[in-house]
């Protein structure tokens, strides 16, 4: 089977300007929503209310979960606690409602189903992740950005490093933008997904850069735009298949992973879609705008190279 039968190189870079404008607008929108709406942080970040209820008979956790979920508190954890009859419920903090009011609401809803239920205790719990989380998150981000840039700058060239990082952050911000816009719950698992996309998206850019470098060596007659177009075209089958298979995995998580993995898989799905797009149209295009050329990647053997020679790469 062969899905991709491409006769000629697809002129991706011809549309670079328009698509860059599009991605800039998407990016700006994401930033806007991040600031205007903010992220809907989960109980792990904000802290919340912990309730302990007791039934006279072993509790049906699915039913309890269902009942509490209809109250619209967001992510609620329901677990057996100590014995089969005791149930622990964790609710995220809500604006304008205190712990006592929240637990009262939950208890009355539970009582409607089973009058036997009694409230053992209710208490406020602090966030699972401390203040240092934000700091650590930023540190991790800085580490990733600097680490990847140094690596790419050594293995390739600084222009590639810069464009890969821009493309990368672009993806991350857009995922966050989605979460802010739809007010999806941003949990620690989602944070992990976002950070994984950091690595994943750069992976994609590197594959294309690698091809660009190789093409510069192989096809001395091509100019930069042609080299980039050829690199993207010849890796496009791999790109689609790889992302396809990763997406299959993520889809399987979305379908079978249940509620806990739902937003995790969602973040990855967005990450994968924008990862393809950004490495083609953001990373490669920025590298092009930065004026990447053959000499950047291949040390000229003769010093007296004619600057007008077309082999030395076009300046865009």
């Amino acid at each position: 089977m062969e899905l991709f039968k491409i006769r000629k190189d697809i002129p991706f870079m011809r549309h670079a300007l328009v698509l860059n404008a599009v991605s800039f607008v998407t990016f700006a929108l994401a930033v806007f929503f991040l600031f205007s709406r903010g992220l809907h942080l989960s109980v792990e970040f904000t802290g919340g209310t912990l309730m302990e209820v007791s039934y006279s008979q072993p509790a049906d956790l699915q039913k309890v979960r269902g009942t509490v979920a209809t109250l619209g508190f967001g992510e609620v954890q329901v677990q057996n606690f100590g014995s089969a009859r005791d149930v622990m419920i964790r609710l995220p903090a809500q604006k304008g409602v205190n712990s006592a009011q929240q637990s009262e609401k939950v208890l009355s809803a539970l009582k409607a189903n089973d009058p036997d239920v009694t409230l053992r205790r209710t208490e406020f719990v602090g966030p699972q992740v401390g203040d240092e989380l934000a700091e650590d998150g930023l540190k991790a981000l800085a580490f990733v950005v600097i680490g990847i840039m140094i690596y790419l700058a050594i293995r390739f060239e600084w222009k590639f490093a810069v464009s890969a990082i821009i493309a990368n952050l672009h993806d991350v911000i857009i995922i966050l933008g989605f979460f802010a816009f739809f007010q999806w719950e941003f949990s620690l698992a989602v944070l992990a997904a976002v950070l994984a996309v950091l690595g994943y998206s750069v992976n994609e850019s590197v594959v294309i850069f690698d091809r660009i470098r190789e093409n510069f060596r192989r096809y001395r007659k091509m100019n930069t735009v042609e080299v980039i177009d050829n690199a993207i075209t010849s890796t496009i089958s791999r790109t689609i298949i790889t992302h396809g298979s990763t997406q299959i995995m993520v889809l399987s998580m979305l379908l079978f992973g249940g509620e806990t993995l739902h937003y995790f898989a969602m973040a990855l799905t967005i990450g994968i879609c924008f990862g393809i797009y950004s490495s083609v149209f953001v990373a490669a295009a920025i590298a092009m705008w930065l004026g990447i050329q053959r000499e950047d990647l291949i040390k000229p053997i003769k010093k007296d190279n004619d600057p007008n020679d077309e082999n030395s790469g076009a300046v865009v």
Binding site: F4, I241, S245
Partner: protein, 626 residues
């Protein structure tokens, strides 16, 4: 061209065997067990305890699968959780006659069912996180009064030295509950002292109390400062708990503030729950005090009479009483490190302490001034002190390196060192609740995570085989091997697997196939350009390697950052993510190449390879390569 030397195949086979062996324990599941361990450093669990447990079970009519002494605890395994609960009650009744002073800790536990030969190889199943299999939940109450008292005590000392420095005469400074009372000579001195407190001690407030000719100041801590002390105490206790739990080797614990003075600790996948409880519950602090060697003290020691003023009675390890002065020379706060070791002369187990600069100075002064006298090192656990050792000072000890010896076993030396090293608590705390969180949610999560991995895996392998034929099959096998290695390494490292970890596993598989796609596409491309099959395989693997290396290293950089700075679930994700990248580099490149070499490498005149359709643009139509 496409042949591996024998040693490479040896590596592959050995790796595969190790992978299988270390993955195996995960398939045996776990047995419910009851675990008995010592509640005190002075009580040892040994064969007599084992005998007691066996007797208790026999009289209760419970039939355990096995009762064994493992390290410092006795574990009895059972068929069902019902039997486990019944047995726990029976053992508890038999071993702990006095619940106010328990000698043993009896706890529920899950023990791996994997056979002995696997356990002997240190192959155990993956640690599952609290979200996957439940775990233990502790609620600890912090004694805030004690935190305040401690703060007042230290402020009293500061006040005393400050007044000496400023030359303010006083008739005594004493702590009285949560306040300090300073007696002064006259109104003028009282005024000076009051001003000193307002100027120098921002946390304190003072009130004048005049009773006829007596002038005094009652100093107390300001309410906002008291609140700060409590907040700090809670924070420091949480930090200390973190340290202690790290010493236990539990990955990804949940340590959370609850209410104003409570801390919740959840330990997922803990095997030795009794030990965990023991370590958490201990509030060990070390104090160095001088032994009172006056005749009254001697008399009190021997006859058990009234202790002289300013002294206290503590018991030594062997049960003999010792009268020590109340004044504390040195506390555990001045301790920077504690390590178990052996005395170079007597070969006795000892604990080596390292003191900070201040501690070293005090220690030097005290030992110089008290040559020939005895000094007691007292370990406080759960509010009760016990004299570890009370040696005679033979010479001045400088340099801040101190050795505690005193009829300890190696185990005790280890425990004491661990306790001291894990840091001191700002305020004592006790476990007010201990629960086992049910694995109900966990079983569901495991099933979900497992399903998503399985379905994703099957679909990917099916696609690869259809699209790349034989090469797709090789890739599929390599992917399976990757999963095997991943599970094996996670089991080996005993890293905690959480739901995000399972997600990382699924993602790792999705990304691992990338390397194979890169290789297969490259081989096809070479074939499309008319290169001979053997050369195409060679070039495909060779050229793709650079790309695979670069892209995996960059992904690894992100993974390492998550590992370094992440906490909780993020860390759980990162561990699996990083290991997944490493195993995928091994399996997708090295292992799949091995398979390909084995299949095609030996054929000298290879006409075609089975890698699906290789489409050639110049021909305009599809040309079958196989």
């Amino acid at each position: 061209m496409n042949r591996y030397p024998v040693w490479k195949y040896v590596i592959l086979v050995v790796a595969l065997l190790l992978g299988v062996v270390y993955t195996l324990p995960n398939f045996f599941g776990e047995a419910p067990a009851v675990q008995v361990s010592s509640a005190k450093a002075t009580i040892k669990v040994d064969t007599t305890t084992l005998q007691k447990v066996e007797d208790a079970l026999k009289s209760a009519g419970a039939t355990p699968q096995s009762v064994v002494l493992e390290g410092t605890s006795v574990r009895a395994r059972f068929q069902t959780t019902d039997q486990q609960l019944k047995a726990k009650d029976a053992i508890q009744k038999a071993l702990i006659p006095d619940t106010a002073d328990p000698q043993f800790v009896v706890a529920l536990n899950l023990v791996s069912r994997s056979p002995d030969w696997l356990t002997a190889l240190h192959a155990s199943p993956m640690y599952l996180g609290l979200d996957l299999r439940g775990g233990v939940h502790f609620m600890l109450q912090v004694d805030m009064q004690a935190a305040l008292t401690q703060r007042i005590e230290s402020l009293t000392g500061d006040l005393r030295s400050m007044m000496r420095e400023k030359d303010i005469r006083h008739g005594g400074i004493a702590r009285n509950g949560q306040s300090i009372e300073i007696r002064l000579r006259d109104a003028q001195q009282q005024d000076v002292a009051k001003r000193l407190i307002t100027d120098q001690f921002a946390d304190l407030q003072s009130r004048e109390v005049n009773n006829g000719p007596d002038f005094s100041l009652v100093v107390s801590i300001k309410p906002e400062a008291a609140r700060k002390v409590q907040e700090q105490a809670l924070k420091q206790n949480i930090t200390t708990l973190h340290n202690r739990i790290n010493e236990l080797g539990v990955a990804e614990p949940v340590i959370q503030q609850q209410g104003l003075d409570r801390i919740v600790v959840q330990l997922p996948g803990v095997q030795d729950t009794a030990k965990a409880k023991d370590i958490l519950g201990r509030t060990a602090t070390l104090e160095v005090r001088m032994v009172d060697e006056s005749t009254e003290a001697r008399a009190a020691e021997q006859a058990g009479g009234l202790v002289p003023f300013g002294t206290e009675r503590y018991l030594e390890r062997d049960g003999r009483p010792l009268i020590v002065k109340k004044q504390v020379v040195l506390t555990g706060d001045n301790l920077t490190d504690a390590q178990p070791g052996f005395d170079s002369q007597t070969q006795e187990p000892v604990v080596n302490l390292t003191l900070d600069a201040k501690g070293a100075r005090i220690f030097k002064d005290v030992t110089r001034d008290n040559v020939g006298k005895r000094m007691a090192i007292i370990l406080f656990e759960k509010g009760k002190g016990e004299v570890v050792t009370a040696p005679v000072i033979r010479a001045e000890i400088g340099g801040g390196r101190v050795q505690i010896s005193g009829r300890m076993s190696t185990m005790e030396a280890n425990d004491t060192a661990l306790l001291l090293r894990a840091g001191s608590l700002a305020a004592p705390m006790e476990i007010i609740e201990e629960r086992t969180i049910g694995p109900s949610l966990g079983a569901e999560n495991i099933a979900k995570g497992f399903n998503s991995v399985t379905w994703g895996f099957l679909v990917i392998v099916a696609f690869m085989v259809i699209y790349y034929a034989m090469f797709g099959l090789f890739s599929g096998i390599a992917l399976g091997v990757n999963l095997l290695f991943l599970v094996a390494i996670l089991s080996m490292l005993q890293a905690t697997l959480t739901l995000p970890g399972m997600a990382a596993m699924a993602l790792a598989l999705g990304m691992a196939i990338d390397s194979n796609v890169l290789i297969n596409e490259r081989v096809r491309e070479e074939l499309r350009n008319g290169v001979s099959p053997q050369a195409a395989i060679h070039a495909g693997y060779d050229r793709a390697w650079a790309t695979i290396f670069d892209s995996n290293i960059t992904t690894l950089i992100a993974g390492v950052a998550l590992l370094a700075f992440g906490s909780g679930p993020v860390r759980g994700f990162a561990v699996v993510h990083c290991i997944g990248i490493l195993t995928s580099m091994f399996s997708a490149v090295f292992f799949s190449r091995g398979l390909v070499n084995l299949w095609y490498g030996g054929k000298k005149k290879l006409k075609s390879v089975s890698i699906g359709t290789v489409w050639r643009p110049e021909a305009g139509t599809a040309v079958k390569a196989d």
